[in-house]
């Protein structure tokens, strides 16, 4: 084997392996990019160039001439949520939020903790507060009380408010006892009814952007919102993510879940 050159057309191993591999490649490319696409009836697979581009994975519009989208009959949330939005607010933003929040104290309390049956906002996730404000403003979430309150707010105002409320310390000092004492619907959900454990979105286990922190919220507020989602009266949850859960819950489960979170 000395003196034998590896890369040489006189080395049969080189010729056979490179030639064989190349042949398999060419054959499979021909079948995959030309022959098999010819069996598809999509317009975008017709013709050689189309077939090759589509089979290669060039992005295209596969349903260009479908019927146009049905527009929503009532306003929907138009907030594009991302998990890192509002995660690092400036001190100035929080400060401006504190000033703006003066108008909210009547219902939501001086430090974001409510004496009435309105939600406690202290320590609420910033994206959740921001999203709800935006939804009140464009009518995706309907509230006779909140609608006039948000009329004049700019986008930055709402970000500032969100930053301020997220900054405030939470009411609940009760440390979580885990899911052990939680009602079944909270701890395990009901998989075949598409009910995930509450804690897999609302903090506790992990959180989902836009889903609020629920611990210590007023019982009547929690119950009324779950019922509103269940009946479809409230529709500002993006792509029905909360209605999908609430409409599957029994009245008893709604009651248990609301009581559990109110007591935390």
């Amino acid at each position: 084997m000395n003196g034998q050159r590896l890369v040489s057309w006189r080395n049969p191993w080189f010729v056979a392996s490179v030639g064989g591999t190349f042949a398999v490649l060419v054959f499979s490319a021909f079948v995959g990019f030309v022959w098999l696409p010819s069996a598809q009836d999509d317009e975008l697979f017709k013709g050689l160039l189309n077939a090759i581009c589509s089979a290669a994975g060039v992005p295209r519009s596969w349903l260009a001439n479908a019927s146009p989208p049905v527009p929503p009959s009532s306003p929907v949330s138009n907030v594009a949520l991302t998990p890192t939005m509002l995660s690092k607010p400036s001190d100035a933003s929080t400060g401006r939020g504190a000033t703006l929040a003066l108008r909210c104290t009547m219902c939501h309390g001086a430090r974001g903790v409510s004496a009435a049956n309105t939600p406690n906002l202290a320590g609420q996730y910033a994206p959740s507060v921001y999203k709800e404000l935006r939804d009140f403003q464009n009518g995706a979430r309907v509230s006779a009380i909140m609608a006039p309150m948000v009329v004049g707010l700019s986008d930055q105002d709402m970000r500032d408010l969100a930053a301020y409320y997220a900054f405030l310390p939470r009411l609940s000092v009760k440390t979580s006892h885990g899911n052990a004492e939680a009602p079944d619907v909270v701890a395990t959900g009901a998989p075949m009814r598409n009910i995930a454990p509450c804690a897999s979105c609302h903090g506790g286990l992990t959180d989902k952007v836009g889903a609020p922190w629920l611990n210590g919220q007023p019982l009547t507020y929690l119950t009324s919102q779950l019922n509103a989602f269940a009946t479809g009266k409230r529709r500002n949850d993006i792509s029905e993510q909360m209605r999908n859960v609430a409409r599957q819950m029994t009245p008893n489960e709604i009651d248990e879940a609301a009581k559990y979170y109110a007591a935390q």
Partner: protein
């Protein structure tokens, strides 16, 4: 092994190599048959995995375009086929109950709003990944009416175990009667 009295190692090596070469040909044959089967089904049943690449911004699905809430569900197209649009998100499909007619060409259009999800419909060959940024488009048809489960089959977070939807296949008459009343159908109870 050669049983001749004059054992010739070169001769026996040649015999061994010859048998080996024959087996190598068998191997080539096996591989060729496997590939031929794939090509045959690809050509004659036009079967292809969901591979129609198309992109979309996952953060604004609900704001505009074909995946707005009011456009999800089943739609009858002018050519009589049915388009089903759905969104996967942590931890549900919307609509969470899909209704389709039997014996009708159906195109699924589905995407994810957040992480990687998957969908399969039990007792069928419908199986696709749903990924943020991409629309999965695939064609199918259901042979007969019946109920199927549609779980998410890719780990999508701590609520993954609860991400199950339902698919109801109804006969054509029933479906088109329902379609006459509303433009986007689902079997979700309001």
């Amino acid at each position: 092994m050669s049983s001749s009295s004059a054992y010739d190692p070169h001769e026996s090596a040649k015999v061994a190599a010859r048998i080996e070469q024959r087996w190598a040909l068998v191997v080539v044959g096996i591989v060729a048959v496997l590939v031929a089967m794939v090509i045959f089904t690809g050509l004659h049943w036009a079967m292809m995995p969901p591979s129609r690449v198309e992109t979309i911004d996952p953060t604004t699905l609900h704001v505009s375009g074909e995946f707005v809430e009011s456009n999800l569900g089943s739609t009858v197209e002018q050519d009589g086929s049915v388009t089903v649009r759905l969104v996967a998100q942590q931890y549900s499909f919307t609509p969470q109950c899909i209704v389709v007619p039997a014996k009708t060409p159906i195109i699924f259009r589905a995407t994810s709003a957040d992480v990687v999800h998957g969908m399969l419909i039990t007792d069928t060959n419908i199986n696709s990944m749903l990924e943020p940024g991409y629309i999965s488009t695939f064609k199918t048809r259901f042979d007969k009416p019946g109920n199927h489960l549609m779980p998410c089959h890719e780990f999508c977070g701590l609520g993954h175990e609860a991400m199950w939807a339902n698919v109801k296949v109804v006969d054509q008459d029933t479906f088109f009667k329902m379609a006459a009343k509303t433009r986007r159908l689902s079997c979700v109870n309001p």
